[in-house]
């Protein structure tokens, strides 16, 4: 060893091979013997040991490779080790059978060679999986804490959660007393029996509206021409209308049937709160004027009553509602008639519905719903008090009388939808849409 070896091969006297080599560099060893695989006592570990080839002076020059794989797998891992005849395999799966093989070679510094063949495979099963007590206990603690948190959150917000998950469906029972319980949902009956005015008026009362009613009685002789030179145009309209009403009515509206004239003041001007103030002032003036009650008494009963209430603080929706409610009493029209010649208004554009030639109690109301709806909902409109009802429409006591309104049915042939007919001739404040 450690000297060059020349090899020459001759065949029949002819050299066929010639090579120089060092034999200590050409080792091919036998595979390691007595490969044993055992468990180390830890999870996922195996201890492999073998017997090194018996060669003197070369023990520390040997290197080994250990091939291990699960028994059913074809691809395995290789671990190398030098000059040691045992090895611990780590990172193995628990409870699986592993196949282990070993081979040997020389390190190539002093001695060199080729890898030996793999040793015969040895099969061993790793320890079965265990539940680490620490992990189990930690899992329990964490889940317990989470459950506690969930419970706490749920208890503190249970009302909110219930409201979200099972939202309360509002029912109208609270607003309609006895409607569902006594009358079984029959609205007509309920209206007829109970004081439905509560239902109608309560929104008015509750909505914090401040009606400023303007009452114009047809029979009142608003004789003294109101000297109010710089009237606001809308107020002048009102005045003009009032005067017109006077004259028109006086001309022959004592007829009962023709009483059902509806004067809808559909001027847009009624809407402003300034005019409300002005109207109130006018009313007070009227009040101060002595009005012959005797004259009025009859007419009060029979004539049309025009009540205007200008609101300063109406709500839009409410006005819509009242608008709808007020419609059936059928008093509301938007008539687009050209201003009558009777109008003494300063403004030529005042829309007036004199109504005298338009209405009769039995006649159909000219009640263009569409037109009505098309206009701004902020019209003041009036409720017509039909014949046979004595209603006191004094502006001061208006609020008190609201509760005394009597309902009576009328056979008005009009376009009012049937379900609204029970609303006919209701008296309720009319609100401006301010």
């Amino acid at each position: 060893m450690f000297v060059q070896l020349d090899i020459q091969v001759y065949r029949e006297g002819i050299q066929i091979h010639n090579r120089s080599l060092l034999i200590e560099l050409l080792f091919l060893l036998d595979p390691p013997k007595n490969v044993t695989v055992s468990s180390t006592g830890h999870q996922g570990q195996l201890n492999v040991s073998w017997v090194a080839p018996t060669l003197k002076y070369m023990d520390d020059s040997m290197i080994y490779e250990v091939l291990y794989a699960p028994a059913d797998s074809h691809v395995g891992q290789v671990e190398a080790i030098q000059a040691c005849s045992e090895m611990i395999l780590r990172g193995l799966e628990a409870g699986t059978k592993y196949r282990v093989q070993v081979r040997v070679n020389l390190d190539g510094i002093t001695y060199d060679g080729y890898w030996s063949a793999w040793s015969d495979p040895v099969f061993t099963e790793t320890l079965p999986a265990e539940l680490d007590p620490l992990i189990v206990s930690l899992t329990f603690i964490i889940s317990f804490i989470l459950v506690l948190l969930c419970l706490t959150m749920f208890l503190s917000h249970h009302r909110f959660l219930i409201k979200k998950l099972w939202p309360a469906i509002p029912t109208p029972d609270s607003k309609f007393q006895d409607l569902f319980t006594v009358y079984g949902g029959d609205f007509k009956e309920w209206l007829g029996q109970t004081s439905g005015s509560l239902w109608l008026t309560s929104p008015f009362i509750l909505s914090e509206e401040c009606p400023s009613p303007l009452e114009v009685l047809s029979e009142l002789n608003l004789c003294p021409p109101l000297s109010s030179p710089p009237l606001p145009p809308k107020a002048s309209k009102a005045l003009a209308l009032v005067r017109n009403e006077d004259r028109v009515l006086n001309k022959g509206l004592l007829d009962r049937e023709s009483v059902d004239k509806v004067d809808a003041l559909q001027t847009n001007g009624w809407r402003t709160p300034l005019h409300d103030h002005w109207l109130l002032d006018r009313l007070r003036e009227f009040q101060q004027h002595p009005v012959p009650r005797s004259q009025c008494s009859l007419l009060e009963c029979q004539d049309t009553y025009i009540t205007l209430s200008g609101n300063k603080c109406t709500e839009e929706e409410h006005t819509e509602d009242t608008l709808e409610e007020a419609l059936p009493p059928g008093v509301l029209f938007a008539s687009r008639k050209p201003p009558k010649s009777e109008s003494h208004s300063d403004l030529g554009s005042v829309q007036q519905s004199s109504g005298s030639g338009n209405l009769s109690s039995q006649s159909s109301f000219e009640y263009p719903n569409n037109a009505w709806m098309a206009k701004d909902p902020g019209y003041t409109y009036m409720a017509v008090a039909d014949s046979g009802v004595s209603m006191d429409y004094s502006p001061m006591s208006r609020a008190d009388d609201i509760g005394k309104v009597v309902i009576y049915a009328n056979d008005y042939k009009n376009e009012i939808p049937p379900h609204r007919r029970s609303f006919l001739v209701r008296q309720y404040p009319v609100h401006d849409d301010v």
Partner: protein, 185 residues
């Protein structure tokens, strides 16, 4: 009280004496790790490989005597430790002489570095041997006519012999060194 003081003084005295102990030089720690030798062997191999690719300026001007590198385990084991050590030390001396000769006749700069490292390694090996308590070696008068020597005429041969010598006899000697065996056991 007095006894305590006496004990303290006695301990102090021992400390001082130990510290100022007249001195034999402490023996070198034995270098038993063969990785040192492996490193030298690898450098020798690098030198040999480089020398093989050398074309010019890398030749011996005159023949050099080198130790024989043939190793037969049975024969080696028959020799006693002293003979083995003698053989190795002679061989190392011869190689040092030859490499010195090569160094002077070398003109290739790249190979110079290799030769220098090889020469240094040989000196280190000598020191290792000294650490293993081998007896001091007294070199002979000349290299000519020594037993168990070969003669080489090329640098490549010289380096090859050098490599084989390190891997063979030197290694065997270090492997079986008494000092290391004593330490291990």
């Amino acid at each position: 009280m007095l006894r305590k003081t006496c004990r303290g003084l006695f301990a102090l005295l021992l400390l001082v004496l130990e510290w100022t102990r007249p001195g034999l030089p402490s023996p070198l720690r034995p270098i038993c790790d063969l990785r040192v030798l492996n490193h030298f062997i690898q450098e020798a191999r690098d030198a040999e490989v480089t020398m093989k690719s050398c074309r010019e300026g890398c030749g011996l001007t005159e023949a050099a005597f080198v130790p024989q590198t043939t190793v037969n385990f049975e024969d080696w084991e028959k020799k006693n430790a002293m003979e083995q050590a003698q053989e190795v030390q002679t061989g190392l001396w011869l190689l040092q002489q030859a490499l010195g000769l090569l160094r002077t006749s070398m003109t290739n700069s790249e190979l110079n570095s290799h030769i220098d490292s090889v020469i240094r390694n040989l000196q280190s090996i000598t020191a290792v041997l000294r650490s293993l308590n081998f007896q001091e070696y007294t070199p002979p008068a000349s290299t000519v006519g020594l037993e168990g020597t070969w003669q080489v005429s090329t640098a490549a041969e010289l380096l090859q012999v050098h490599l084989n010598f390190l891997r063979g006899k030197v290694r065997l000697l270090l492997l079986d060194a008494q000092a290391c065996r004593q330490e291990a056991s």
